[in-house]
């Protein structure tokens, strides 16, 4: 009997194609937007996570916390800065870790007539391995550069081109600020990572920077590579405690691992997922109202048929089932079309972003089977849910009145 009812409902739907099509359109748009929204958010997450992981993996970031005026007063006289000594102490205490202290210097690099103004990064040889960022020609900073406050400089690809054009930069003399340096290496092209153009970086030894450009041994931050990913949390904690102890018991530093950043991203993505998914589901609910509307019209139009069916032996649940199957059929067929449209819409959006957003080239839509399943099942639920009221109405019609309905 179910098969017969299903064939009937297909026949009824196809007998008024325009109406059925318009009703389905609501469901199609709803399902498509659920799938597209989810795919775009999912793609965004993948893009962000990739961006972060391209910074290098298994990383810890250490920087100084901003203290309030009150705290500064309270802790006056204690050892409160993040210093180069801290980096050396960490190396000594945790020999497994690779530590790269970082200082930023604003300055000018000048080679003959050509110059470049911007940020210069003072760091240690470990930086190259930690960031997975290597020289194309020449060499990166070495231990000897650090130990002898060598005035050597490594240029990013773009900077090398700006200063020397097609000429080889290796061995050239240039001035960083007032000090004479010589070029020991040029970096491989890396492009923009998370908002920073790596090809525009200039590297000098951290000790040289402290000696020639800074009056103190304060450093801005440290990047630390942890060899064992499973020990990230443990190392983060130990390192933090170690630094607090070195800073006379004052917690004036932050230690964050990538997991913390990824966790923050995850929370943000969930917010997007809920907001955008919510909008899409509202669209689907509006589609459901369309189904309910059209099913109510159908029930009224077919009052005499319902009366006849009841007269010849259709039970309430038979009529209920008949109209419920019809509304569900609308939502199932609409859901199928919606899945297809949603996939197209998601990839279309992906391409649009790739073309219009700088650095968005690899933000593509990521369609997960679960998203499709959720959207489709929700559509079917909408068909059943919004079809229920018209179907109940139909099943409760009085047969004698329904038979003579004009």
């Amino acid at each position: 009997m179910l098969g017969a009812i299903f064939r009937d409902s297909l026949k009824n739907l196809s007998s008024n194609l325009l109406r059925s099509g318009l009703t389905m359109l609501g469901v199609i748009i709803g399902v498509a937007s659920v799938i597209a929204m989810m795919a775009i958010v999912e793609g965004g997450q993948v893009w962000l996570v990739n961006s972060i992981e391209r910074l290098g993996t298994n990383l810890l970031f250490v920087w100084k916390k901003r203290l309030t005026v009150e705290e500064k007063r309270m802790f006056a006289g204690r050892n409160l800065q993040l210093r180069y000594d801290d980096a050396l102490a960490i190396r000594e205490r945790f020999p497994d870790l690779k530590v790269a202290p970082i200082i930023d210097i604003d300055g000018q690099v000048k080679a003959g007539e050509r110059d470049y103004s911007g940020s210069i990064t003072a760091t240690s040889p470990e930086f190259s391995d930690i960031r997975n960022f290597h020289t194309a020609t020449g060499r990166f900073l070495q231990a000897t550069d650090i130990n002898t406050w060598n005035r050597s400089v490594v240029l990013g690809k773009t900077i090398a081109e700006v200063l020397y054009g097609s000429q080889s930069a290796i061995g050239q003399q240039l001035k960083v600020g007032e000090h004479r340096f010589h070029v020991i290496g040029v970096m491989e092209p890396k492009g923009e990572v998370y908002g920073q153009d790596y090809d525009e970086m200039v590297f000098i030894p951290v000790t040289t920077a402290l000696r020639f450009f800074k009056g103190s041994d304060k450093i801005r931050s440290m990047i630390i590579h942890v060899p064992d990913r499973d020990k990230m949390e443990e190392v983060t904690h130990k390192l933090h405690q170690f630094l607090i102890q070195r800073h006379d018991g004052v917690d004036d530093i932050r230690v964050r691992n990538q997991g913390d950043f990824l966790g923050a991203i995850d929370r943000t993505i969930w917010t997007f997922r809920i907001v955008l998914g919510g909008i899409a589901i509202v669209a689907l609910l509006v589609g459901g109202i369309g189904i309910m509307n059209i099913m109510l019209v159908t029930v009224t139009e077919r009052t005499r048929e319902i009366g006849l069916r009841k007269a010849i032996g259709a039970k309430r649940q038979d009529i209920l089932l008949q109209f419920l199957i019809e509304s569900t059929t609308i939502s199932v067929i609409g859901g199928c079309f919606g899945v297809v449209l949603g996939i197209f819409a998601a990839y279309g959006f992906g391409n649009l972003v790739a073309q219009s957003m700088p650095g968005g080239g690899d933000w593509g839509a990521v369609i997960q089977p679960t998203a499709i399943a959720i959207a489709f099942m929700f559509a079917v639920a909408v068909g059943i849910g919004f079809g229920l009221f018209p179907a109940i109405k139909a099943s409760r019609l009085d047969p004698a009145e329904a038979l003579r309905y004009q």
Binding site: S15, I312, K315
Partner: protein
Amino acid sequence: MLITLSHINKIFTTGEVTVHALDDLNVEIKQGEFVAIIGQSGSGKTTLLDIVGCLSQPTSGDYWLNGAHINKLPDSELTTIRNRQIGFIFQTFHLLPRKTALENVQLPLMYAGATSRQQRDRAVEVLTMVGLQDRMNHHSNQLSGGQQQRVAIARALANRPALLLADEPTGNLDSQSGNEILIIFEELHRQGQTIVMITHDPPIAQRANRRITLLDGRVVTDEFTEPRAQPVLQKI
């Protein structure tokens, strides 16, 4: 007794207006009778058809059909009784337009829970009985009025009902098609089928072997006659 209607009242209230459609009506009908119920419009014959057909319940009084005390039964059991015990034939045929003759006849069998094989076999059988074996796969809107009414008769007979209940079965037909329908009724009657036919047309009522005349919801006359043979009947 197939049908016993005892002190049946049916009162409709629409706003301030109260209509006493059936007024202490008492009728008994035996198995195998062919009864015509005659009356002007407003005499209560449609209301009586609804009650006899288990489509609605009387306001008061008792109704037994084939041993079942109908006015004590819940809605769901009335549905089963309509399906198994009663075959309806309507003035406007009430066929489903997007279905073939065969599918229309299968409908009550489907609701009775028959398998599709059983549905088909029985539908073919009754359609053959009413002479439509060549038209089984036509959609109902491709059939003439007389043919449509014959499909409706086949549908009414599908579950071998105790009672065939016809509401102005010839009302929408020309006299020849109407006559063909009445010939089928007479043949069914001859085979022992109980038929209750509602009509406002006395010559058609003459074809039955018992005529009950209603006026203002009461039985005014109840006469038995042997139906006189129609010339057309002899021809066929």
